[in-house]
């Protein structure tokens, strides 16, 4: 729950939707208006704030599968849990 809250707080800086109005089924591109660059920059902010490191290899399709807020939160959880 804490990770989800933190993710939405950081996401709020990138879109015109307030953190408490961001729902997990929202689409990052269509509902929050985030471009690929926005999403990757947001992940960079999460790395700095939570001292985690996302690792994506050249043939990694993880990023392509991130469509909704929930997808992004699950990715964040995966790395936060591993740290």
């Amino acid at each position: 729950m804490e990770i989800e809250k933190k993710f939405k707080e950081v996401a709020e800086r990138y879109c015109s939707v307030k953190a408490d109005e961001i729902t997990n089924d929202m689409k990052l591109r269509d509902d929050l208006g985030l471009s690929s660059l926005d999403l990757m920059t947001l992940l960079g902010d999460l790395e700095d704030e939570f001292d985690i490191e996302f690792e994506f290899s050249e043939d990694d399709n993880k990023l392509a599968g991130i469509v909704t807020v929930e997808d992004a939160i699950n990715l964040f959880k995966e790395y936060a849990d591993a740290e």
Binding site: R13, Y14, L34, S35, S36, L37, D38, M40, T41, L42, L43, G44, E47, D48, E53, F54, F56, E58, D59, D60, N61, L63, A64, V67
Partner: protein, 462 residues
């Protein structure tokens, strides 16, 4: 007390060009914005003054270079300015544009001086507004659009009593945050690892020219090195010509639908089309590098803080001809996403690493094409009173091209897709731009009509 700051990576990119081309002209950025209404000129001047106060990037100045040629920046104190007025009402718009075009060639020479100048212009057809000329290290095109909108909102506040525009984000705060992120050792090390891995995997990049392999062959002869993989950069004859082509709405929509249906961004589709064109022109070469500009304005603060936030990174992909169009698009997308993650990195460090590893000759490059894709903007955001107050906006090229071919793709208000080819006339002609556009369109539509086609098949078909 004024505080000095280092340049950001985006500012440093422009500064490197100024040093390499030995003229500040390469860093010029100019625009005119005028409204077809009776403008109260003293109030417009007051609005510009207020803008210079609240948009502090406009007050940036640069220090004298130190013994290593490095400079710093600081924000000068605000004080009211005098603005010259120019009356072009007895001229045609073309004549007025010609005069302003020459203003765009002017340079800001000197240290610790203002790097931005506004002029009030009265244009034909009852358009009145301002021309602004500045150094690109102060702002970029998105930031200039934000500035122009804010000036007009200030004017409407002063003239009509409309609500005072919301404050813009603090430039200095965002600058400090950028510099802190750029010096974050963990982030820096990770970015370096990413770029080094690319060179570890693929080795030295290989130049691919718009005109074909003869350009590299000539460079090899000139340098007496049959294994040379880079070619000379034109440093003296920087005159640029521009050729625009417009893709009709139906065709544009087909391309955008392909992007939406396949979750591929238009930038990545364009990168794929350009690299396929370069591959075609260079005997099926698989190792292709294109420089791609990105505008680092993701957060609210970054959007309204001003500052130069546009930066370019090499998009290098090694893709075999038997790869399908859609798979190639996904390879590029994945690669670009990883580049975005490290977009605070200074691309100068990438070039320095290549030079160290491969002893790349001075003044040579691996890249012939630079790309900027500008996503559609809601014109109502920029000019909410467009119907009531028609606006005339024109961007002026600085007239000094640092790149052999610079392609800007943007959405026009009539929904056509504009392909603007800026090319160095000493090396290229209009025919080169025309051929490039022609093949790019053929590749694009052969690819999206059947994304299962391989790149080799598409190259053979077109």
């Amino acid at each position: 007390m004024k505080k000095n700051y280092a340049l950001t990576a985006a500012q440093n990119m422009h500064y490197q060009w100024i040093k390499e081309y030995k003229t500040q002209q390469v860093s010029g950025l100019s625009i005119v914005a005028a409204f077809q209404t009776d403008i109260d000129i003293p109030l417009l001047k007051r609005s510009i003054d207020l803008e210079q106060e609240r948009y502090s990037c406009l007050r940036l100045r640069f220090t004298k270079p130190d013994e290593n040629g490095n400079i710093e920046q600081y924000i000068a104190d605000w004080k009211p300015q005098e603005y010259e007025e120019f009356d072009f009402t007895d001229k045609t718009m073309a004549e007025a544009n010609d005069i302003m075009q020459h203003w765009a060639y002017e340079t800001f020479d000197g240290d610790d001086i203002p790097m931005c100048e506004f002029r009030i212009v009265k244009l034909p057809d009852n358009y009145t507004g301002f021309f602004v000329h500045m150094d690109h290290r102060l702002n970029d095109s998105v930031g200039v659009a934000v500035m122009a909108t804010d000036i007009m909102n200030l004017y409407k506040h002063l003239k009509f009593g409309e609500e005072y525009p919301a404050p813009l984000a603090d430039f200095e705060k965002v600058l400090v945050s950028d510099l802190e992120k750029a010096s974050n050792e963990k982030r820096l090390a990770k970015a370096k690892r990413f770029w080094d891995e690319e060179l570890d995997t693929y080795g030295e990049p290989l130049y691919s020219d718009i005109q074909g392999p003869s350009v590299l062959e000539e460079a090899r002869k000139k340098h007496n090195n049959p294994n040379l993989r880079s070619v000379d950069i034109e440093r003296k004859e920087l005159f640029v010509a521009v050729k625009d082509y417009q893709l009709e709405v139906d065709s544009m929509q087909r391309a955008i639908n392909f992007c939406l249906n396949n979750q591929i961004s238009p930038t990545n589709l364009l990168l794929l089309v350009i690299r396929t064109y370069l591959s075609k022109m260079n005997d099926g070469q698989e190792d292709i590098t294109i420089e791609n500009f990105i505008s680092r304005r993701s957060t609210h603060d970054e959007l309204t803080s001003g500052g130069s936030r546009t930066i370019c990174f090499p998009c290098r992909t090694v893709i075999s001809g038997d790869t399908t169009f859609i798979d190639a698009a996904r390879i590029i997308q994945n690669h670009q996403n990883r580049i975005y993650m490290y977009s605070g990195y200074d691309p100068e460090l990438i070039r320095a690493e290549m030079k160290k590893r491969y002893n790349t000759p001075d003044d040579t490059t691996y890249v012939s094409v630079y790309l900027t894709y500008q996503p559609p903007m809601n014109t109502k955001d920029l000019n909410p009173n467009a119907e009531k107050m028609p606006i005339y906006v024109k961007w002026f090229a600085n007239g000094a091209a640092t790149k052999k071919m610079y392609l800007t793709v943007s959405h026009l208000p009539d929904r056509k897709l504009n392909f603007s080819y800026h090319y160095q006339t000493v090396q290229l002609t209009e025919n080169d731009a025309e051929r490039m556009y022609y093949y790019m369109m053929r590749i694009l539509f052969r690819g999206i009509e059947d994304p299962g086609r391989t790149l080799s098949e598409i190259i053979d078909m077109v």
